[in-house]
């Protein structure tokens, strides 16, 4: 038996996730077969539904945008040793910020300025919503996992109140605000490509996808190439070491949570300013929670998060397509398949890892 050498890096970054994904798909296939449907057909529908044609790709990338934001949010907090479960609420409140900015300044500010103001509002609202649990963790020791979960509920209640009693259009059944001024709409991918003379299928994909990629790059620079990012990671690795080297854990915990919340808050940019063009309830639809799985699978690295977000975007869009094309698979079945992927890629991360690492480990040089 070879000694415990180190496995090549591609095993960790590529092979293990792929094996996990394959295992999830095999088990999903068994479930699909158990309800009397063809697993291969379902897989084909899932894949072509996610990547098979222009509109599908647009929808996949639109979902991906949300997951990049929430995945990054979870990752930044994670590097400071915090588990931010509150992405959902932060995204919800961030969307409120974006919506209020659009309602207040729509038609007044020119678009580039409007975009900056909306980003600032979304980020600030999200950051504010995460700041409180961060502060409670840093100063009062209230565990951030508990408080962020509770803040999700408070966010939902607050939004309900605001939509039902304040922003609803009078006389309307649905709690929705009025539509924003048309000058605030983020350009869709179709419009952007039309400017350079290329015609692509219409989809909700919009400018915020680019914002998400820029955010990913910023997170990479921030966490690995700035002093503050370094200090953040020191706090995450060991608070005692941080204190010893003169870093204040409390300050960095609050900071990490605020940045995390700001990133989650930008989901509102995609959903509210990019797609719905009005404020409404439940536009987040669980993206905050999916962000946890995305960050886990992406190993808390922006590049990995973008890939994992793409996978989950594909699952969401391909899952919709499954519900369209194979009505025999009910919407609950689609959730089961998505859940299995999360289970294998997130929760059962280490199921195959030791074996694979042993298999590919380079034996230590033998001593004579």
């Amino acid at each position: 038996m070879a000694g415990a050498g180190k496995a090549p890096v591609w095993v960790d970054l590529a092979l293990v996730p792929l094996v996990n994904l394959a295992a999830a798909l095999v088990v999903s296939g068994l479930v699909v077969a158990a309800v009397g449907q063809s697993p291969l057909e379902a897989l084909e529908v899932l894949v072509t539904g996610a990547f098979g044609y222009g509109e599908a790709i647009g929808y996949t990338l639109y979902y991906t945008t949300n997951f990049i934001f929430t995945g990054l949010a979870v990752a930044v907090a994670f590097h400071a040793g915090l588990f931010n479960i509150g992405g959902e609420g932060q995204a919800y409140i961030g969307g409120l910020g974006v919506g209020l900015a659009c309602l207040a300044f729509g038609g007044i500010l020119p678009f580039p300025l409007m975009l900056l103001v909306a980003i600032a509002f979304g980020a600030a609202f999200g950051a504010g919503w995460a700041y409180v649990p961060g502060w409670l963790q840093a100063k009062r020791g209230s565990h951030v996992v508990i408080t962020t979960i509770m803040f999700n509920f408070i966010a939902a209640a607050l939004m309900t109140y605001i939509m039902v009693y304040v922003l609803i259009v009078p006389g309307q059944q649905s709690p929705e605000s009025r539509q924003f001024d048309a000058t605030t709409f983020l350009p869709t991918a179709k419009q952007a490509f039309a400017w350079i003379g290329v015609d692509i299928a219409a989809s909700p994909l919009n400018l915020s996808f680019v914002v998400a990629l820029i955010a990913a790059a910023c997170v990479w620079v921030f966490v690995w190439h700035t002093y503050v990012g370094y200090e953040l990671r020191v706090v995450g690795k060991s608070e005692k070491a941080a204190v010893y080297s003169g870093i204040s854990p409390a300050r960095h915990i609050v900071l990490a949570m605020a940045i995390s919340g700001a990133l989650a808050g930008l989901v509102g940019l995609n959903e509210i300013m990019g797609v719905q063009h009005r404020l409404l309830l439940n536009f987040t639809g669980g993206v905050g929670y999916v962000g946890i799985a995305v960050a886990l699978m992406g190993r808390n690295h922006p590049f990995g998060i973008c890939l994992a977000a793409l996978l989950f975007g594909a699952l969401y869009q391909g899952g919709s397509e499954l519900a369209f094309s194979m009505p025999q698979l009910s919407k609950e079945m689609v959730v089961v398949i998505q859940g299995l992927v999360i289970l294998f890629c997130g929760a059962l991360e280490h199921l195959f890892r030791p074996q694979l690492e042993r298999l590919f480990a380079r034996p230590l040089p033998a001593r004579t």
């Binding site: 639109y62 309900t160 059944q173 709690p175 797609v275 409404l280 309830l281 439940n282």
Partner: protein, 331 residues
């Protein structure tokens, strides 16, 4: 000869194919309650199933699970994709589709759209609304007549004008029978989640029973199932909504305020098929048999002949305009 046969065969195949391409395919989009909510969405499902049984063929369907899917489902069904041809008519079940449909209807001016419970003003949209206050008036009368305590209850789903309309009609009906009847009212919540919370529905019902009510009307989608269950468990009476729910707990469900979403869906599909489909607003009430109270083998012992006579008289009076039921949503 063989060539001729082959040619004929090819032609037949070609004809068959073109006929298939023009097959009438209606589409239904269910709201988040899900198509098996035993109430509102299920009524729509039953209407679509009835059409399928009578005219054959098939229909496309989709249950939305997040907000973005509202647009996606409408567009995709209207356009058709892959093996599914563009839908001839897209029927959206529920007011929550209203603002989305306003936009999508413009994008697909040649597709017929139907929306239930909301009004969208567009040349290719037919809006079906119900005069629920009229049906609620009748079940309110039934509740007051069946009540021994002169206290009746109402559990609503999401607190929106539409459900207030149910409540007002119910209250007026109960007071029509007995001026001094007390009507308790609770709404389950203010978000769409209130349509699907049977636990809370049951709790609200139990608290109303404790306050003395002995008949409760549930206008709350799947939440109402909890109300009906609580009535059964406490040995009291309940009134179902939208679909005929009498069979759920025979002997405990006094009656159901049926809202014929199934008829609306069926008629929309049928009229689109035979070409008589029209855009505009359709209001369905007692007169059109769009609403009413359910009487079947499960509740015939609960609705006495005397009650039935009074209900039928009131129904005739409402249709004739002699009884005016307040519509709180009317401007």
């Amino acid at each position: 000869m063989i060539r001729k046969l082959a040619l004929a065969g090819l032609m037949a195949a070609g004809l068959g194919f073109s006929a298939q391409a023009q097959t009438f395919t209606p589409a239904v989009i269910f709201d988040m309650g899900g198509k098996f909510d035993k109430s509102f969405n299920e009524a729509a499902y039953n209407g679509a199933e009835r059409f399928k049984k009578e005219f054959g063929g098939t229909y496309a369907e989709f249950e939305v699970t997040n907000e973005a899917q509202r647009t996606q489902a409408m567009q995709r069904l209207a356009r058709g994709a892959g093996a599914t041809p563009p839908a001839s008519i897209v029927i959206c079940i529920g007011f929550a589709f209203g603002s989305t449909l306003e936009q999508v209807a413009k994008e697909f001016p040649r597709t017929k759209f139907v929306i239930v419970d909301s009004v969208v003003d567009a040349p290719n949209v037919s809006s079906v609304v119900f005069r629920e206050h009229e049906g609620s008036f009748l079940v309110g009368m039934a509740a007051a007549m069946a009540s021994k305590t002169a206290k009746v209850g109402f559990v609503g789903g999401m607190d929106i004008p539409l459900i207030r309309k149910f409540h007002k009609g119910y209250e007026e009906g109960a007071q029509h029978v007995n001026k001094s009847v007390q009507v308790f009212m609770n709404m389950t919540g203010t978000t769409p989640a209130a349509w699907n919370d049977p636990t809370k529905g049951g709790e609200l019902a139990r608290s109303q029973f404790e306050r003395g009510a002995d008949v409760i009307y549930a206008a709350a989608g799947a939440t109402g199932l909890g109300v009906l269950q609580a009535a059964k468990d406490s040995g009291k009476l309940s009134i179902g909504v939208d679909s005929n729910q009498n069979h759920l707990h025979p002997g405990s469900v006094l009656t159901s305020m049926v809202k014929r979403v199934d008829v609306a869906v069926y008629n929309a599909m049928k009229s689109a098929k035979d070409g008589s489909w029209k855009a505009g607003v359709q209001s369905l009430g007692l007169k059109e048999d769009g609403v009413g109270y359910a009487l079947d083998a499960n509740n015939e012992k609960l609705i006495t002949a005397d009650m039935k006579a009074k209900l039928d008289a009131a129904k005739a009076d409402i249709i004739a305009g002699k009884i005016k039921v307040t519509d709180v949503t009317a401007k």
